[in-house]
Symmetry: C2
Subunit: 336 residues, 2 copies
């Protein structure tokens, strides 16, 4: 008989322990998680830390190139990286639906293990709740993470100034199109898959050389590039101008977008980063990015302006300026 999650797996008793020992610890075992106390304890040096969290409710939980577990590890790793931090420890809270197959859970756990290894982080504390059939949609995951910020790194919207270059690490829309295409049952071209990846090593390489020249980094997830740029224009009080012709969108992604009526500027990415850098560092940052798989299509997409504070303009291919704004009504719910 297929082994499935039962309500008792979440009651904190013998069955919870069994789930932990037989399934979860197998993938996440480490010295800090081992004691299975009410949390993890670890030493820290004096300095600065970053702390972040995200819940993941993507549907379907599996899609080309990844699954909810990949998002849960990479998303929080990347949020730490966007703070300039070296990601170190993750927590993991599962909310599982009664009846979820253990095989599905195992696949998600395996992916999380692989991604945590790749990113160089440990999952040190966690929690599992089980709810009745229908009270949740299969599996939701929350991760929180902590990381340590090197002394040389100062990432903040307040450091963004006029005449900084804006670098995008790669193509737009891959993740959202992979998820939505799967949800709609489309037969997607093989080239389409999520861009979900841990970005901390690439970002760390940029900061190791160019920390003083990097004012801000953001990963354009929910809301897409346009929303992130609008947020930064607002918080940093600069104008932003980007050029449509520079924006990388894979051909197959563009086709699906035009079929479904999506604008790649507003689609979620899970393996991209936007850098605001001093112009003198632009070439050097691009050179570093191009040495990474995740950054091989990196490109300068525009720059900040002293004028037009709080506004984001897109210079279109035909030459006009389209004012962008944050995402309004939803195109694509439950994308991450």
């Amino acid at each position: 008989m297929e082994e499935v999650i039962r309500l008792v797996h979440g009651n904190g008793g013998r069955f919870s322990h069994e789930l932990m020992e037989k399934h979860i610890m197998k993938h996440f075992r480490n010295a800090l998680l081992e004691p299975l106390h009410d949390g993890a304890q670890f030493a820290v040096s004096a300095g600065r830390m970053a702390f972040t969290t995200d819940s993941y409710v993507v549907t379907p939980a599996f899609f080309p190139g990844g699954n909810i577990g990949k998002l849960a590890v990479c998303g929080t790793v990347n949020d730490l990286a966007m703070n300039g931090a070296v990601p170190k420890y993750l927590s993991c809270g599962f909310i599982l639906e009664e009846g979820l197959s253990m095989e599905t859970l195992e696949k998600v756990l395996t992916t999380m293990e692989v991604m945590a290894d790749k990113a160089g982080v440990s999952i040190v504390t966690g929690d599992t709740k089980v709810v009745e059939r229908g009270a949740v949609d299969g599996i939701y995951i929350n991760t929180a993470g902590v990381g340590f910020i090197p002394d040389s790194v100062h990432i903040a919207p307040s450091r963004v100034e006029a005449d900084m270059d804006i670098i995008l690490s790669g193509s737009l829309g891959d993740h959202a199109v992979a998820v939505m295409g799967t949800r709609f049952g489309l037969t997607l071209p093989e080239s389409i898959h999520t861009d979900c990846a841990p970005l901390n090593h690439m970002v760390g390489a940029v900061l190791a050389k160019e920390a003083e020249n990097v004012a801000l980094m953001r990963d354009p997830t929910r809301g897409g590039l346009a929303t992130v740029l609008q947020e930064i224009a607002d918080s940093a009080q600069v104008g932003i101008l980007i050029k449509e012709e520079t924006l990388p969108v894979h051909e197959d992604v563009a086709s699906v977008c035009s079929m479904l009526g999506y604008d790649p500027l507003y689609l979620a990415n899970e393996g991209k980063v936007v850098f605001f850098v001093r112009r003198e560092a632009t070439a050097a940052v691009l050179d570093i990015l191009h040495t990474f798989d995740e950054g091989k299509e990196a490109v300068c997409i525009g720059h900040t302006l002293a004028k037009n504070q709080g506004r984001v303009g897109l210079e279109t291919v035909v030459g006009g300026i389209r004012l962008l704004d944050m995402l309004g009504e939803d195109q694509v719910p439950r994308i991450c």
Copy 2:
């Protein structure tokens, strides 16, 4: 028209910002949360930290004496306190159901604000996802937390030895009975309400005086006192003997338990702590606990043994010994 949560409140765009600005920031505003970046940044001193997480899926979300927001703050604060840490920063991830009334969310947020103030912690980073009607049950909350462990404090199962006293800070079963009674639509006596409370100040007062004599602390939440004692007997490799006659159970709680067939030893508490202390410190620890509302019924319930490693015995009122074990099949799902 009643204002409700819509899917667009979770899309990361304009409506997400509005929800954040108009509703969430109002309650949680602080200097670290303010930048609304991908996480919070803060300074740390050299030392040890604790890191923990829990997801909350309690149903119903409101019950006598509290709601899911109270649990979400106190639960994570208490897990940090059980590590001997001074809780400092919390993250908060909401998963909201489309159609949830804004009034309900406001009530939960208000409670979280009050509890965070009471515990002396700040909610510094967060995330909100919205899922379609039916894909979640109203509101789920994940909190993770970090805290700093004073140098004098060393809390670990490995420090538990034979002949230590076991102190319980108060009565058993109040939380579970308050939630389950509400779920079943019982008319509960006024005396029954959740014991959910932040325990960090009380625990901190004990550790300030008696850190060297406190080997381990645990809050008997899911699985109840019996499960927690069994876990400790296993991990510390000691025997445990507790006396039934010492166990505080409020009369009305005991009545509901006997009606519903619950054993208070296996019911979740949300404002209780079990201390394993050196015997010479027992009186002093009890004296400190008795000065707190949350500890005024604290009592020594038993002690550890060199023999019977991994076993927990209950000396019953009639004189026999009943062997306890972890909670097996569930009595009460979705209690926190």
